[in-house]
C-alpha cells in the first residue's frame, strides 16, 4: 500500500491555469476544485463545489440562506477544513489549514460578524494581525495604516476605539487590516447586511477602487440587485451546489432570481379586511432610554383586531423603547398600555405573554432564542408550562418533539433533527424558528420588530405570508421596521415616529411614500 502514496507525493499534479468558464484575457487568481463539506450534525453544506476567481475581478456568490456560500468561503479562508477538494492559487496547489495560512497566501476574509476587539483602538486591532514581536511600536503600525489608507483614499483615525465607530467604519477597518497584510484576494461575507444605504455606496466605491488596484474581490450576497450592481461575474449556489457562473453583463434580475430560487415567483396576496374592535390601546406613553434620556415622549395609538399597524422611522427614534415597554422589557415612566381594557403597564413579561402578546425581537440571537438549547426546547419556551408539554410539572418530550417536527416542516426550518442545538442553525433559520414559535401560540397581538431583517426573499415572503394569515384570523400586528418597503407593502395604517413622537398617521388609501420619508427625517409634511 506504500506505492500509491509514494506515487501521489511524487507525481506532478496537473496544474490548471485556465478554465473553461474563464473570461478571455484574464489571469486566474484562485481556483477551487470539487470541494465537499458535511457538518458533524449531518448537514451537507457543499457538494462538489468548483469556482474560479480572476485577478482584478469582483465575483459575487449569490444564493439563499443555507445555500452553502459562507461554508465555501470559510473553507477558502482557512476557517473550516473541507472533507475533500483542492485549492489552487496562481496555479499552485495549496493546503489552507488556518486563517493565518490563508493570509500568508494572500487570501483574507471579512466575516459577517466582525473580528475586531471593541475595546481596542483601530491601530491595536490592526497590529494584532501583523507579525510583531517584542516592543510594541504602534507608531509603525499607524504609519502603515496611513500609507495603505491614503493609497485608497480611505479616511480612518488609527486612534479611534472600535466601539465608538459606526458599523460602516468598522467594516472599513476590517478591510484595511487585510490590506495591511498584503492580501490579494478579499472575501466579503454579506457585507451590506449591516450597512445603511449611504454606507453601502461607500463600500461599493471602495470595492471598485480595490479592483482597479488589481485585487480580486469575492462578495457573498443573497440580494440579486446587489450582485448585479457590483460584480463582474456571478456564481449562483443552491442547496450546497454551484448552479451556474454567469458574466454579470450578460444576465438580468429575473434570470438570476429564478436561478437562486428554483421556480420562485412572489405570490403574496395582500388582503385588507375591515378592522375589528380595539385590541391594544397605548395612551400617552413616556419611556426612558438606556442613558436616562426620554426616548418615547407621549405616544398614543390604538391597534385593532385584524389590522397591521406599521411604525415607520429611522432606527433610534424611540421604536426600541416603545416596543420594550409594550413587551414588558422596560419600565414605562407614565402612560398606560391597555389590552382588551386590561391594564398591562409595567407588568412582567410573563403576564404580558399570558395576555396574548407575541413578540418577534430584532436581536434574535440574544432575545429570540437560547442558542445552546435545542430547537424543540426553544419552540416551547413560551408555553412549556402548559399541557401538552407539561403535565403536573413533568415535561413530555414526545409532545415537544411532535409539535417541533410539525413546526419545522410548516415553517421550512432547516434542522436535521428537532433536538439539535440552535447554535448549529444559520441566521435565517433561527429567525424562522422565532417566527414559528411566536406565530403559533395563539396570541391575539403580535409585536414584530424587523421581522425579515437578514432573511432572503423566500424566507421573507414566508414570514409575510404568515402575518397575513394571522391578520385574517383577527390578530392585531404592530410592525416596527426600518424597511419602508416592507411597511408600505403590509400595513393597513402607518404611524411615523421621529424623536420619540408620532409625527404622522396615514391610512392605506392616502399614504404618500415621499411624505412619509420626509417625516421620518424630521421635516414637516
Amino acid at each position: 500500500m506504500l506505492t500509491p502514496l509514494f506515487f501521489l507525493k511524487r507525481s506532478r499534479v496537473e496544474v490548471p491555469t485556465t478554465q473553461a468558464d474563464q473570461p478571455p484575457g484574464s489571469e486566474l487568481a484562485l481556483y477551487v476544485k470539487g470541494v465537499n463539506k458535511t457538518y458533524p450534525n449531518g448537514i451537507v453544506a457543499n457538494r462538489d463545489v468548483s469556482i474560479s476567481i480572476m485577478k482584478g475581478e469582483v465575483h459575487a456568490i449569490l444564493g439563499e440562506n443555507g445555500a452553502g456560500k459562507t461554508t465555501l468561503v470559510k473553507i477558502i479562508s482557512g476557517c473550516l477544513k473541507p472533507d475533500s477538494g483542492e485549492i489552487y492559487i496562481d496555479g499552485r496547489r495549496v493546503e489552507i489549514d488556518s486563517p493565518l495560512k490563508a493570509v500568508s497566501l494572500g487570501i483574507g476574509m471579512v466575516h459577517q460578524h466582525f473580528t475586531l476587539i471593541p475595546s481596542f483602538t483601530v491601530a491595536e486591532n490592526i497590529a494584532l494581525s501583523l507579525p510583531l514581536t517584542g516592543r510594541l511600536s504602534l507608531d509603525q503600525v499607524k504609519e502603515r495604516i496611513r500609507s495603505v489608507s491614503e493609497a485608497l483614499n480611505l479616511k480612518i483615525d488609527p486612534d479611534a476605539r472600535i466601539e465608538q465607530l459606526p458599523v460602516g467604519l468598522r467594516q472599513r477597518v476590517e478591510i484595511l487590516r487585510l490590506l495591511c497584510q498584503d492580501v490579494r484576494i478579499l472575501i466579503l461575507d454579506e457585507p451590506t447586511s449591516v450597512l445603511t444605504p449611504i454606507e453601502v455606496e461607500d463600500l461599493f466605491k471602495m470595492i471598485r477602487e480595490l479592483k482597479s488596484k488589481g485585487k480580486s474581490i469575492i462578495i457573498i450576497t443573497h440580494k440579486v440587485r446587489e450582485a448585479l450592481t457590483i460584480s463582474d461575474r456571478v456564481t449562483i449556489m443552491r442547496g450546497g451546489r454551484v448552479v451556474k457562473t454567469l458574466t454579470t453583463k450578460e444576465t438580468n434580475e429575473s434570470e438570476l432570481a429564478s436561478l437562486v430560487v428554483e421556480g420562485f415567483c412572489p405570490s403574496l396576496k395582500i388582503e385588507h379586511v375591515r378592522r375589528g374592535e380595539p385590541l391594544l390601546i397605548v395612551k400617552d406613553l413616556r419611556v426612558k432610554g438606556d442613558r436616562g434620556e426620554v426616548a418615547v415622549k407621549g405616544v398614543s395609538f390604538v391597534l385593532h383586531s385584524g389590522e397591521i399597524l406599521g411604525v415607520a422611522g429611522v432606527a433610534g427614534n424611540g421604536q426600541k423603547e416603545l416596543v420594550e415597554a409594550i413587551t414588558g422589557l422596560r419600565k414605562a415612566d407614565s402612560g398606560t398600555i391597555l389590552v382588551r381594557n386590561f391594564d398591562l403597564t409595567n407588568r412582567s413579561p410573563k403576564t404580558i405573554i399570558k395576555n396574548g402578546i407575541a413578540y418577534i425581537p430584532e436581536d434574535r440571537m440574544r432575545r429570540g432564542v437560547i442558542l445552546t438549547m435545542s430547537v424543540s426546547e426553544n419552540l416551547v419556551l413560551k408555553n412549556f408550562e402548559d399541557p401538552p408539554y407539561s403535565k403536573k410539572m413533568i415535561m413530555d418530550k414526545e409532545a415537544m418533539e411532535r409539535s417541533a417536527s410539525e413546526l419545522i416542516t410548516k415553517f421550512g426550518i432547516k434542522a436535521s433533527d428537532p433536538w439539535i442545538s440552535v447554535n448549529s442553525l444559520s441566521g435565517g433559520n433561527i429567525q424562522k424558528l422565532v417566527v414559528a414559535r411566536e406565530l403559533s401560540n395563539g396570541a391575539s397581538i403580535l409585536v414584530a420588530e424587523q421581522p425579515t431583517g437578514g432573511l432572503d426573499v423566500k424566507a421573507s415572503e414566508g414570514v409575510h405570508q404568515k402575518m397575513m394569515e394571522l391578520k385574517s384570523k383577527g390578530v392585531g400586528i404592530l410592525l416596527v421596521s426600518a424597511d419602508l418597503d416592507e411597511i408600505l407593502k403590509l400595513s393597513d395604517r402607518i404611524l411615523v415616529i421621529f424623536e420619540g413622537r408620532i409625527v404622522g398617521e396615514f391610512s392605506r388609501d392616502n399614504c404618500d411614500m415621499k411624505k412619509i420619508a420626509r417625516l421620518m427625517l424630521g421635516a414637516s409634511a
Partner: protein
C-alpha cells in the same frame, strides 16, 4: 518622646509595606492571567503549595535560597496544572480553581504528616530578613521605609512597571489582552490562544511561588496549612479593585497590607482579659476592608470581556 513616636510611625509604615509584599506579588501575577481571560481562583492553593515546597526545600537543604527556588517551582507547577485543566481540557475555570485549592490543602497536609511525625514541630532557624540597600537605606525615613526591606518587597515594587510595560507596551501584551477580550477573534487572527495563556500562567506561577514562599521563608518560620489565610482570594479582589492594571494592583495591595499591619499594631497595645478576643476580631479587619473596597470600587468596572469563559475553537 517625639522621637519615640516617629520611630513607631516609621516602623508601622515599614511593616505595612512588608505585609503587602505577598499580596503585591500574587495580584501582579493574577493581573497578567486575568488580562488573558483566565480567572485563577486556584491561586490560594498555588500559594499554599509553594509555601510548602519552599518550607521543605529550606528545611531539608538548610538553605533559604534553595527554599525560594523550590517555592517558585511549586508555584509554577500548581498554576500549570490549573492551566492544563482550563486551557487544554477546557474545564470551568471557577470549579477548576476551587478543585486546585482543595487538592492543595489535602496534598500539603498529607506530605507534611508523611515528612514529620505527629507532634513534631519543625521550624526554620533563620528567615530571609531585610536587605538594606547600601547608601539608599541611609536616607532618613524613606531609607527605613523603602530601602530596608526584604528582597520580596524590592521584587514586588520593581515588577509593577515591568508588568505594566509587558501588558501595555509589548506585542505579547497586545496579544494577551486580545485573548482576554475575545479568544475566538484572536484565534481567527492567527494568535495561538493556548500558547499565550500558558506563558501568562508560567509568569503567574513565578509570582505566586514567590508570594507563597515568602510566607514560610520570610514572614513565619513554620508551615501550617492555614498559612495563606485567604491572601490568594484577597489578591483576586485586589485585581478587580485595581481594574486589571498593575499600578492599581500595587495600590490595592498597599491598602490591604496596611490594614493588616494596623490590626496587628493595635493588637500589640491591647492588655487585659479581653485582649485575645479583640485581637481576633481585629484580624478580620483586612477582609472587611476587602469587602468594603469592592463595594465601593468594584462596581461598574469592566474587566476583560472573556474573563472566566471557556474557549474552544469548534
Amino acid at each position: 518622646m517625639i522621637e519615640m513616636e516617629w520611630a513607631l510611625i516609621i516602623g508601622f509604615i515599614a511593616a505595612g509595606i512588608r505585609t503587602s509584599a505577598p499580596l503585591m506579588l500574587a495580584s501582579l501575577g493574577e493581573t497578567i492571567v486575568e488580562r488573558g481571560g483566565i480567572l485563577n481562583l486556584g491561586i490560594e492553593g498555588a500559594m499554599l503549595i509553594s509555601a510548602f515546597t519552599g518550607f521543605m526545600g529550606a528545611f531539608l537543604s538548610g538553605n533559604l535560597w534553595i527554599g525560594l527556588l523550590m517555592a517558585i517551582l511549586g508555584g509554577i507547577l500548581t498554576v500549570i496544572t490549573f492551566g492544563i485543566l482550563v486551557v487544554r481540557i477546557n474545564l470551568d475555570q471557577v470549579v477548576s480553581g476551587l478543585a486546585i485549592n482543595l487538592l492543595a490543602a489535602g496534598l500539603c497536609l498529607y506530605f507534611f504528616r508523611l515528612a514529620f511525625s505527629q507532634g513534631a514541630f519543625p521550624y526554620l532557624s533563620e528567615l530571609i530578613g531585610p536587605y538594606p540597600i547600601p547608601l539608599l537605606s541611609q536616607i532618613p525615613v524613606i531609607g527605613e521605609v523603602l530601602f530596608n526591606q526584604t528582597i520580596f518587597v524590592y521584587v514586588g515594587i520593581v515588577s509593577v512597571p515591568i508588568t505594566y510595560y509587558l501588558i501595555f507596551k509589548t506585542s505579547y501584551g497586545l496579544k494577551l489582552r486580545s485573548v482576554g477580550e475575545d479568544p475566538l477573534v484572536a484565534s481567527y487572527l492567527g494568535i495561538e490562544v493556548s500558547k499565550i495563556r500558558y506563558t501568562a500562567l508560567i509568569l503567574e506561577g513565578i509570582f505566586v511561588g514567590m508570594a507563597g514562599g515568602l510566607l514560610c521563608l520570610s514572614m513565619f518560620n513554620v508551615f501550617d496549612t492555614r498559612i495563606v489565610a485567604a491572601r490568594g482570594f484577597v489578591a483576586v479582589s485586589i485585581v478587580i479593585l485595581g481594574r486589571w492594571n498593575p499600578v492599581g494592583a500595587f495600590a490595592g495591595s498597599l491598602l490591604f497590607g496596611f490594614t493588616e499591619a494596623l490590626s496587628l499594631w493595635i493588637g500589640t497595645f491591647l492588655i487585659g482579659p479581653e485582649s485575645a478576643s479583640i485581637s481576633q476580631l481585629l484580624s478580620l479587619l483586612p477582609y472587611l476592608v476587602t469587602l468594603i473596597a469592592l463595594l465601593i470600587g468594584g462596581r461598574r468596572v469592566r474587566g476583560p470581556a472573556a474573563l472566566g469563559s471557556p474557549f474552544s475553537k469548534e
